[in-house]
């Protein structure tokens, strides 16, 4: 005995009795031919995804039956074709997995498993999302920290600059620093006071970055607090790196 399954769509605009009669008609045909009907499933009214015979919806039925061979299907399909009420039909032979699937579906196992699977998948997704969120949060945090550092460094630099310009004129040698690096130079307030630079000279002289290091060091050495200043004044092209570096130390 092989198991088959026939799904067909009945036109929806029929009186209730007519629909039941149609289904019973096909059941009778099958039983007359010696088939064993396993199950009749009424899926019910469904919207069709495209119109069939100018109908936009239809009532779906599925009949599962066992038959010795498939000869009955030809006969039944002929009746289907002649029947005005039937919009579509499809007969399929079920393999052992299909039989099992239908049994499980009837007993409600499939729905449960489906829900389990869905839950599992949702959980997986949630976990992934959480990890992503965490990553993003840490990224954002580090970015925030960095920007805060940068802001602080800028402030410090501005302060230092102001101090330098306030210093007494003409008492010490000049520190020569290129304009872009000058922003990054961070001098603690007390140290800055000891370095005395005339404002106009510092502003006017321009030296490339690589030279600046060479020139700055000897100048700094003349001041008493030379070591501290040398450490704080980091003369490198990369502003950001210097900022974070000096900030960590500060």
């Amino acid at each position: 005995m092989r198991q088959y399954e026939t799904t067909f769509i009945v036109a929806p605009a029929l009186p209730d009795g007519e629909i039941k009669k149609a289904v019973k008609n096909y059941k009778d045909i099958l039983e007359k031919e010696g088939c064993e009907i396993v199950h009749v499933d009424e899926i019910g009214l469904r919207q069709l995804t495209y119109p069939i015979k100018r109908h936009n919806s239809g009532i779906y039925f599925t009949i599962e039956y066992k038959s010795e061979n498939g000869e009955i299907i030809d006969k039944m399909e002929l009746v289907f074709r002649r029947d005005e009420r039937i919009l579509r039909f499809l007969s399929v032979r079920l393999d052992k997995f299909g039989v099992k699937y239908n049994e499980d579906k009837r007993s409600g196992v499939i729905d449960k498993r489906k829900n389990d699977l869905a839950a599992e998948r949702a959980k997986e997704r949630a976990e992934q999302e959480a990890s992503n969120k965490e990553k993003r949060a840490t990224n954002r945090k580090s970015q925030k920290k960095k920007s805060a550092e940068r802001a602080k460094a800028k402030e410090d630099a501005a302060l230092a600059k102001a101090e330098v310009t306030d210093a007494k004129a003409g008492t010490a040698k000049t520190i020569e620093v290129p304009a872009d690096v000058a922003k990054t130079v961070e001098v603690p307030a007390d140290v800055a006071k000891t370095v005395e630079v005339p404002a106009d000279v510092a502003k006017t002289v321009e030296v490339p970055a690589d030279v600046a290091k060479a020139t700055a060091e000897p100048v700094v050495e003349t001041v008493d607090t030379a070591v501290d200043v040398a450490e704080e004044v980091s003369l490198d092209g990369d502003i950001l790196g210097d900022l974070t570096d000096s900030d960590k130390k500060g």
Partner: protein
Amino acid sequence: MAVQKRSGRTSREDIKFLSNPNIGNNRKKYCRFRKYGIKHIDYKDPDFLLQFINEQGKLLPRRITGNSLKFQRKIATAVKRARHLAMLPYVADLLK
């Protein structure tokens, strides 16, 4: 020296942040039928089959779904049967 090293690292981190951090850690695809032990694909379940077709109602390739060949074939027949029964469209736009 040390300054240069550090500055190099900083700039790389900056670039990393500017690009999407999720690019590159692709998760391995797998056949869900094999993984979850699904043996039969029901053509009367259009919601399930919807995962294997694109917005136009076309079948998605294995390249994207990760199905094994055996189940990709079964999916294809199931989708075609569902189309015949007007559970899935033959042609569509903005299906999802």
